[in-house]
């Protein structure tokens, strides 16, 4: 793009076509006060504070909506501009409540700062203040309309960027106020991502978990990485005197790849560290009963028990690199399983075709013209990734194409084209696309697929694989297919979004097996919960079971030795995230540290030497594996957004918005009764269901807010599959 010159305040600035004057000024260090403008949002021009004088224009113009033109002469600091600015700020301040001493935003409030710098020096308002006493309380978000300046950042954030349209304006004129559409957050379908709270320039939208808890300026700010899912979001943790007060994303300031966007877990799940289910002491089973012991004793027992034994390692994938390396050194890498097994299978298939397991960084999608998203329920499993994909379309103009089974509220509305097919036909559909990319005259016989292929041709394409793909029985085959396809398009970057924070390191460090193949003598479960991370798996019979866990999990009752560890907010280290190495930092004190415990254990010399076996290369796409007989449905078991990593179970904040367990069925598949009996293999589950026409025929979705024992027993033998499970339903 060719740049041109714009003169702002006598300074020659370089501008690019399409940029607004405000953006040019910002880049050149000229401050123009703003309220309604936000870097991540579409400009609105509503607050009228960013007025500037343009030579030749009769009126003052808003810098946020004014596109820079060659040879434009802009003045931001003339007497006329200053007076107009002060006039507008005076109008805002006139009826603004003077609650700064108790307002949670005070200290980082944009109205305070702009008011001091550019506002009027004296008030001329003699009328009694107009009160707008409308407070709307949700479980996690509160709207105090008295403090609102109606800049509408929250509305644009919620409606356009997030695609939720929960917030809106009610009434008009001076009586206008912000509200969720029917006055209730839960009913309006709020996903509680907290972005509206983040962009609010004043203290109108409040984080209820932080309300009146502390003052913003006195807290210690630590930038760390959220480990609740594989998105690897950078988040600021504010703490005071070693106690965490809140988590903020700081949209627009955050330099992480998530740019400050968070989900309900990252924003409100921090209080897992204060969960009353936290484990405080090591426990040892003596005569069939768990007794409290000291850490030194526990270590002694542990050393004794693992020495020379083969270990069945059960890994949860939210551990840091340092911890994983230590685990590999202490327990060996050969006889391990993990909740990332599906992801491992996918990468195995990928490697067979590509010859490498390396996938690309998430930011590589910004270089492509078209992004093909393969997978479902990304907004539940990796909420921020689905958000970033949406924003890549809205802000960067990428072409988004979806291949999947279920409709997605967030992505479908911005998708250029979408192929929603039966789950059994995913691989066949991708094969059509491959053929279409090789042969320009190819016709699949399906118009939808043909237009899909057409919109990819000649474009630089990136693939994003995420969501339920890694929990499907076809993970490996899809891996092969995607790798094969990516070699046949321009660009051909593949981003595999790991389901858990450090899945990438786990699959690279360990040779994962299916839990049934483990043949050791001692079970070691690190950071995991069997029901949650290994649904449908029973601990193998072993002499001794060791549990490293931060919480009183249901597994504690079956363990012989339980050693408490820390949760992510208390860790220092690194993780291999979707966008490279990410840093995890803390300022908190911790009582127990996994790393310290492990460093006192002897290092094995077997694990480190064994090399990864060479994979045999194939040069063909994967094969369709899924079949369905008549009367059978393909079941997807989905942990709700709030329940992923059991956040809703351990975090009081998130528990308030956790969804409930429900089975979603296509109206045509649904029986007449209220409850259904769901059958998978030997497992049975009695459950109430809801008819949902967005679920395609022949599929069923079981949403759980947490994997409990009955769900785990129902899924016996299905691990690592949580999607594409053949099931039958019967009236109950």
């Amino acid at each position: 793009m060719e740049s041109f010159k714009v003169v702002i305040d006598g300074k020659e600035c370089e501008a690019y076509p399409g940029e607004t004057v405000l953006e040019v000024a910002e880049r050149n260090g000229i401050t123009i006060p703003v309220f309604c403008y936000h870097r991540e949002l579409r400009p609105e021009g509503a607050c009228r504070v960013c007025l500037v004088e343009v030579e030749g224009a009769p009126r003052l113009v808003t810098a946020c909506t004014l596109k820079a033109m060659p040879d434009m002469v802009v003045k931001t600091n003339t007497e006329r501009v200053r007076r107009a600015r002060a006039g507008v700020i005076e109008l805002i301040l006139n009826n603004h409540t003077l609650e700064c001493p108790i307002c949670d935003k005070s200290g980082e409030c944009e109205l305070q700062m702009t008011g001091f710098r550019h506002g009027p020096k004296k008030s001329r308002y003699k009328e009694p203040r107009r009160e707008k006493d409308i407070v709307i309380q949700g479980p996690l978000i509160e709207i105090d309309n008295d403090r609102c300046i109606l800049c509408r950042r929250c509305i644009r954030m919620c409606g356009e960027n997030m695609g939720n349209r929960v917030l809106g304006i009610l009434n008009r004129g001076y009586r206008a106020y912000i509200s969720p559409f029917n006055g209730d957050f839960m009913e309006s379908g709020c996903e509680h991502c907290g972005s509206c709270v983040d962009v609010c320039p004043v203290g109108s939208l409040l984080d209820r978990a932080f309300k009146y808890k502390d003052r913003p300026w006195r807290m210690d700010k630590t930038w760390t990485t959220c480990l609740f899912c594989g998105s690897g979001c950078k988040v600021e943790i504010d703490s005071y005197h070693g106690k965490v007060k809140r988590a903020v994303g700081r949209i627009g300031i955050n330099d992480g790849h998530n740019r400050g966007y968070l989900c309900v877990r990252g924003k409100w799940g921090w209080d897992v560290i204060y969960s009353d289910k936290r484990l405080k002491e090591p426990l040892l089973r003596v005569d069939g009963e768990l007794r409290r012991i000291l850490l030194e004793e526990a270590l002694k027992v542990l050393k004794e028990k693992i020495e020379g034994r083969k270990i069945n390692l059960f890994l949860e994938s939210s551990l840091t690199n340092e911890e994983l390396e230590k685990i590999a050194a202490v327990f060996g890498t050969e006889n391990a399983t993990s909740d990332s097994l599906g992801f491992y299978n996918f990468l195995k298939g990928f490697e067979k075709v590509k010859g490498t397991r390396e996938t690309d960084k998430f930011s590589s999608i910004y270089d492509a013209d078209a992004v093909v998203v393969i997978g479902d329920f990304i907004e539940e499993i990796n909420p921020v990734v689905s958000m970033l994909l949406r924003l890549a379309v809205l802000q960067k103009g990428k072409r988004l194409l979806r291949v999947g089974v279920f409709p997605s509220k967030k992505l479908d509305s911005v998708a250029f084209s979408k192929l929603l097919v039966d789950q059994t036909e995913i691989i066949d559909t991708l094969k059509h696309v491959i053929l279409g990319m090789i042969d320009t005259s190819y016709s699949s016989g399906n118009r939808k697929i043909d237009t899909f292929i057409k919109s990819l041709r000649g474009k630089k394409v990136s693939f994003v694989v995420a969501g339920t793909v890694f929990f499907s029985p076809e993970a490996e085959e899809i891996g092969k297919t995607v790798a094969y396809l990516s070699d046949r398009v321009v660009g051909g970057k593949v981003v595999a979004v790991p389901p858990k924070a450090n899945s990438l390191k786990v699959v690279n460090l360990f040779r994962l097996k299916h839990p049934e193949e483990l043949d050791g003598d001692v079970n070691v479960v690190v950071n995991g919960e069997l029901e949650r991370d290994f649904p449908g798996v029973e601990l193998p019979k072993a002499e001794f079971t060791v549990l490293f866990t931060p919480f009183y999990t249901p597994d504690v009752s079956g363990a012989d030795l339980v050693i408490p560890v820390e949760v992510w907010l208390e860790k220092n280290g690194t993780v291999d995230g979707v966008d490279g190495k990410l840093e995890v930092k803390t300022v908190l004190e911790k009582e127990f540290s996994l790393l310290e415990v492990l460093s006192q254990l002897p290092v094995r010399n077997t694990g480190a030497e064994s090399k990864e076996a060479e994979v045999e290369r194939v040069n063909e796409p994967g094969q369709r594996l899924l079949e369905r007989e008549k009367g059978e449905l393909l079941l997807t078991v989905l942990s709700n957004r709030t329940g992923w990593n059991s956040v809703s179970y351990y975090s009081k904040n998130v528990a308030g918005v956790a969804g409930e367990r429900v089975l979603l069925l296509n109206p045509e598949d649904a029986p007449d009764s209220e409850m259904v009996k769901l059958k998978v293999g030997n497992g049975e589950l009695l459950i109430s269901f809801r008819k949902d026409s967005s679920i395609p025929k022949g599929h069923a979705v079981l949403r759980v807010e947490r994997f409990t024992r009955d769900v785990s027993e129902f899924l016996r033998g299905q691990f690592p599959n949580l999607s594409g499970i053949r099931c039958q339903i019967a009236e109950a």
Binding site: P101, I102, R218
Partner: protein, 152 residues
């Protein structure tokens, strides 16, 4: 010679005693401190108190401005959301070991919630007793209320 006479006649002593004699009939100035106390001046800055409303509740809104103003980091507080949805003070600590009684905290307070009493005797045997908490400060507040009423 003269000096000898002076010595013999105890002139110096008499000179000195004359001053003693002179002041003997004047009123005494010295205060026998532990037994007698000087009432402090009206604007004396003694230890802090949390001023109370007539109904006995504290006025503080935990805005943290006093602590922000404090040059020696004396004040700290903890707050939370009360049951009625109002801001509630959980703890308010004043570390008297560091306080230099400048009174800036009182100046800063937007709610006239923190005040300084006339109490200047607050020595303790242990340091931790010199850290006043919300309870102590409210106790002092009641004292301050009483004192203010008397002063009027």
């Amino acid at each position: 010679m003269m000096s000898v006479i002076k010595k013999v006649a105890l002139v110096d002593l008499l000179k000195g005693m004359s001053i003693t004699l002179k002041t003997m009939f004047k009123p005494t100035v010295t205060v026998h401190y532990p037994f007698e106390k000087v009432p402090p001046r009206k604007r004396f800055r003694g230890i802090h108190a949390l001023k109370l409303n007539p109904d006995g509740s504290y006025r503080c809104e935990a805005c943290y401005l006093c602590a922000e103003m404090c040059p020696s980091n004396v004040i700290d507080m903890e707050m939370t959301e009360g049951k009625d949805g109002k801001k509630e003070l959980v703890d308010f600590t004043v570390d008297l070991t560091r306080c230099l009684f400048c009174g800036l905290c009182v100046e800063a307070c937007p709610r006239d919630a923190i005040v300084m009493t006339d109490i200047y005797e607050f020595s303790q045997y242990t340091v931790d007793k010199l850290i006043l908490h919300k309870k102590d400060l409210m106790e002092l507040g009641r004292y301050y209320q009483e004192w203010e009423r008397k002063r009027r």
